[in-house]
Amino acid sequence: MLLGVDMLDLARFQFAMTTVFHFFFVPFTIGMGLVVSIMETLYVAKKDEVYKQMAQFWGKIYLLSFAVGVVTGLIQEFQFGMNWSNYSRFMGDIFGAPLAIEALLAFFLESTFIGLWAFTWNRFKPGLHCVTVWLSFLGSLLSAVWILTANSFMQNPVGYAIKDGKAQMTSFWALLKNPALSAEFPHVIIGAFVTASVVVVGMSAFGLLGKHKHDRNFFKKSMRVSLWIVLITSALEIYVGDYQTQIEIHEQPMKFAATEGVYNTTSKHAPWDIVADLDTKTHENKGAVSIPDVLTILTYHRTSGSVKGMNQINKELHAKYDKKFGKDMSYYVPVKTLFYSFRIMAGFAAWFFLMAILGLIWTRPKKNTIENKRWFLWILGITTYLPFVANTCGWFVTELGRFPWTVYGLFTIADSVSPSTTFGELLFTNIMYFLIFATLGGVMVYYSKRQLDMGVERALQGGQY
């Protein structure tokens, strides 16, 4: 113990830090795969050189993000064994299989074809070259399927039996048919598309604000292509987000109640709190700004129905799990974090949708006035950073919301940690990872910005290495 911090805190901090950082790059990379694939397909279809330039220019950002995503992904794979060895022993029978399949099916596809794509611009015919980027994108989609299969089991265990104190797989199909997966996968994937397309829109806005006048056409076209993607995907994201909420209400009521700050079961016409004064000591929501009836409508899509509160859910969980985990277990999740994370995530999704509508109106082919609206370009520019905040908040809701378990209802976080690692080792690696991430993130942002400042023509000179 040092300053009240123990091993478990350090291991949790490390997991949070590495996952959040990895998850800056993963959705962005997956989404960039789609954006670049669409741009290159437009080039193949329309034979317009500007689309080729787009695929190459944004492709360089894609490759940068891919590289950082790969190396931070390595940490993810290793740290299950390094920091959470008891979890790995308990869950390996189920968790390992999706992870291994992810490598076999997805990582090889991704990494082989992204290598081909980056190095064969002058060698392959445009059609075949375009196929390589789609295959690499497909690989990243498949990767998400498998890692989310593993994560969904942690949220909602299915198809298992406990044998000798370990979880053992009894049905592989059950893992794949997990309702948690059917909600999580579209949510994460579409979120990835939103992320990358918002970034391309935002960076294009900076490009239009920049000094290179002859690049204006390039950035206007890039912006319009990606504005369409933002429009479609952010609308879908709101829809699938709602779908996931519906599943969560049944599977993890505590998580849902926390995201809405509901401590006590509501009346049949539950109001929705925009902000709330949550007292985590007395377990009360002292209310703040709220809109009547809206929570009921959001929850049940009808005008009547009460939402179960955390205090009641806590009692139910104690009744259900006291025999196994003891009376002292706390089932309250970090409610304030969840409450505000959820609002930021959902609010930003609506914001992206609004930006897409305005952007599409002002970039109409016949009346493109976006260049003159510098204030709007600045707003779009700042919006570049927001998807990363939204993704992180989404991750907080998902992972902190299953507290105190690593595997919901089966295995606690406290039991998961490696018994053999020392405090010093964890402290050392925490500090090192922090420094590495700060460096990688800084360099990545710096090089992306440099590429934008350089102008399109210079950025595309030279090629690889």
Partner: protein
């Protein structure tokens, strides 16, 4: 059934050995090329030419390590858990090396100044040097028998990790990777002068490799039970390692570049095979024999192994097919003229 091991358990033990073999065969040479950028290149342009030979493929080569780790997790999670938590610091250092190396490819291509380029090129060098060093150090350490408790948790002391055998294994791993990398480089470039430098450096390195192999074999004899437990196979593999090195050297000398490359790869294959042959039927050898973790008691459930086997039987050949196709696409030798003179 051998020693109470189910057929699928045996298959997965062999597959994990195979995955590590492919990893060292493929990523071994791109580690080697990375190290060689600081040994035989005389200017940035040559350095970039060398990096270009591995640019499109290093990433998929690294996936073999990820796959090996994933396969351990999926089929022997007790092994994965004990090994990865036990060798905490060594694995962190390996990761650190792989990270700075992995980003160096992309970051150096974005560097606009010579200073920036140099920085990421040094990152490539150190990453390529240290990743096989630390990884092989772990292998050299774990075959000697380490303190493991009844729950499978390791409590390694400094001397469990740093000792003659682990250091020699680490140095040998780096050396063999470098030789392998130089052989690969000669296959991929059309530049007589650079190729000549690679050849003559390799000629010197082979001498060191023989010394390293003999010392390694002696230490394995004294520090492990490999030769007592399984004398015939251990001796055969050891001899094969030396023969492969000799053949590789002969072909290097006579300019049969493809054969030299194949045999330097087989040398690395032999080393990994020797380690796994010696481990069998265990996966982690404890100082207290009662706590040794064996294939049978580390293995996951039958259903998981079945699922994994079906998946691997379908996916592995497909992956190997398109990876081979990739190598075919990049078969043309690269000239210095193909490299733009960014900083000249």
């Amino acid at each position: 059934m051998i020693d109470g091991i189910q057929p699928l358990q045996l298959l997965w033990f062999l597959l994990i050995a195979l995955l590590f073999i492919i990893f060292f065969f493929t990523e071994g040479f791109d580690f080697g090329v990375g190290i060689a950028t600081r040994l035989i290149a005389r200017n940035d342009r040559e350095r970039r030419l060398m990096v270009h030979t591995i640019g499109p493929i290093w990433d998929s080569n690294e996936v073999w390590l990820v796959t090996a780790g994933g396969a351990m997790f999926a089929s022997f999670s007790a092994w994965y858990a004990s090994l990865f938590s036990g060798y905490y610091i060594l694995l962190f250092l390996t990761l650190f090396a792989l990270i700075i190396r992995g980003v160096s490819f992309e970051f150096s291509s974005h560097a606009e100044s010579r200073k920036g380029f140099n920085f990421w090129n040094w990152a490539l060098f150190f990453g390529s040097l240290l990743a096989p060093f630390f990884l092989c150090m772990m292998f050299g350490s774990l075959i000697q028998g380490v303190p493991i408790d009844a729950q499978g948790n390791m409590s390694l002391g400094f001397w469990n990790i740093v000792n003659w055998l682990s250091i020699v294994t680490a140095v040998a791993g780096v050396l063999l990777s470098l030789i392998h990398g130089l052989n690969f480089l000669r296959l991929r470039i059309d530049d007589p002068e650079l190729s000549k430098r690679a050849q003559s450096l390799n000629n010197k390195l082979y001498i060191l490799a023989y010394i390293g192999e003999v010392v390694f074999a002696l230490l394995v004899i004294f520090q492990t039970d490999f030769f007592e437990k399984r004398p015939i196979s251990s001796i055969c593999i050891t001899i094969a390692i030396v023969v492969f090195t000799i053949l590789s050297q002969i072909f290097n000398h006579s300019d049969h570049q493809a054969w030299a490359f194949i045999f330097s790869g087989l040398t690395l294959t032999g080393v990994v095979a020797l380690l796994f042959n010696g481990l069998f039927p265990n996966v982690l050898i404890a100082q207290n024999p009662a706590h040794t973790i064996s294939i049978a008691n580390a293995a996951n459930g039958a259903l998981t192994l079945q699922v994994m086997t079906i998946v691997a039987c379908i996916l592995l050949p497909i992956a190997i097919a398109y990876i081979i196709w990739t190598y075919y696409i990049f078969r043309h030798r690269i000239k210095l003229d193909d490299i733009s003179d960014k900083f000249m």
